[in-house]
Amino acid sequence: MSFLSRAAPFAACLTWAALAPMAEARPVSYPGGWTVMQMNNGDSSSLHAHYSPTASDSIGFYAERNWAEDVQFTGLQYNRLLKRWNGPSSQANTYLKLGVGQADPFGDASAELSGFAGFAADWETRRWFASYEAKATDYAGNKSVRHSGRVGVAPYIGDYGDLHTWLMLQVDNHPEGDEPVTTTPLVRFFKGVQMVELGYTLETEELLANWIIRF
């Protein structure tokens, strides 16, 4: 396959991602900060460890084992804070996420150059949270698009260093999936540099478990 034919899907993903809305946990830290994110749901498990040279960029390792698409992806991910709005009691962000690496389909098929592009947006106060995220992947020729949105509320407002709790509802749209639309009530615990999320996807009866640490 020529470079151009390989690059075309990525270019399409980028174009699409730039036009689509979306969001997740903040993928960029403070200058010099490291972050490790470990995410699990019924479709996939992933590990993302990144370093932020500035408050607008981060780059790191990303690996995903995806059972929905029978493939394992390993590569590099770059995250860019496109725009941040800082309010007196709120913050909103938009991010671009790009990944390139190789995907190994389950079975005997050989690894192929693969990648993804995503666009995320979030808005947060100390009481309310909303986010939207879209991610387009091309894993070994298997192209897929996912959308994910969240709303959340903090039942109490804690001070810096307290245990913070968020009640959230996540809605995912994966048109190619067996369940195109899924809903996941989840609880987020946040204390100091660590964040843990536990949820349960109603349609597929599968658990969601995410963990993030910053240092």
Binding site: R26, V28, S29, Y30, P31, G32, G33, T54, A55, S56, L81, R84, N86, G87, P88, S89, S90, Q91, E124, T125, R126, P155, Y156, I157, G158, D159, Y160, G161, D162, L163, H164, T165, L167, V187, F189, F190, K191, G192, V193, L198, G199, Y200, E205, L207, R214
Partner: protein
């Protein structure tokens, strides 16, 4: 299915317990911290700014979570002039305690806050004890 039910029950219990834990924690914050701080490593355990040579209070937009506070603290703690950094998410203020004889001008403070990813609103300076 049993595993799922168990996990669900755990989440529900955590959910019920968390506000009570936080309330307990916050009630503690209103009490005398002198003994408590020695036992528990809280994020805001820097030296009391009131005992620093000079305190600088910066009002900042965008401080909504602990990750934000941590970012500001990490960036300012790298400054030689800074002895302590305390973040108040309620007021959106960063209180810097400067070392004796040290200075940190407004322009540098503004630059560091922008570098952290936030927006400076105002700076107030006060002499410490």
């Amino acid at each position: 299915m049993k595993l799922i039910k168990t996990a669900f029950a755990s989440v529900a219990l955590s959910l019920l317990a968390a506000p009570a834990m936080a309330e307990h924690h916050m009630d503690h914050s209103k009490m005398d911290h002198s003994a408590h701080d020695d036992m528990v490593a809280e994020p805001n355990t820097d030296a009391d700014p009131a005992t620093s040579a000079q305190t600088v209070t910066a009002k900042v937009n965008g401080l909504v979570c602990d990750f934000c506070a941590q970012a500001v603290r990490k960036v300012f703690k790298k400054q030689d002039a800074v002895e302590s950094v305390n973040v108040d998410l309620d007021s959106g203020e960063i209180v810097l305690g400067l070392k004796a004889g040290a200075t940190l001008d407004d322009e540098t403070i503004g630059k560091l806050i922008r570098k952290s990813g936030y927006s400076l609103v105002s700076i107030d300076r006060g002499e410490g004890a």
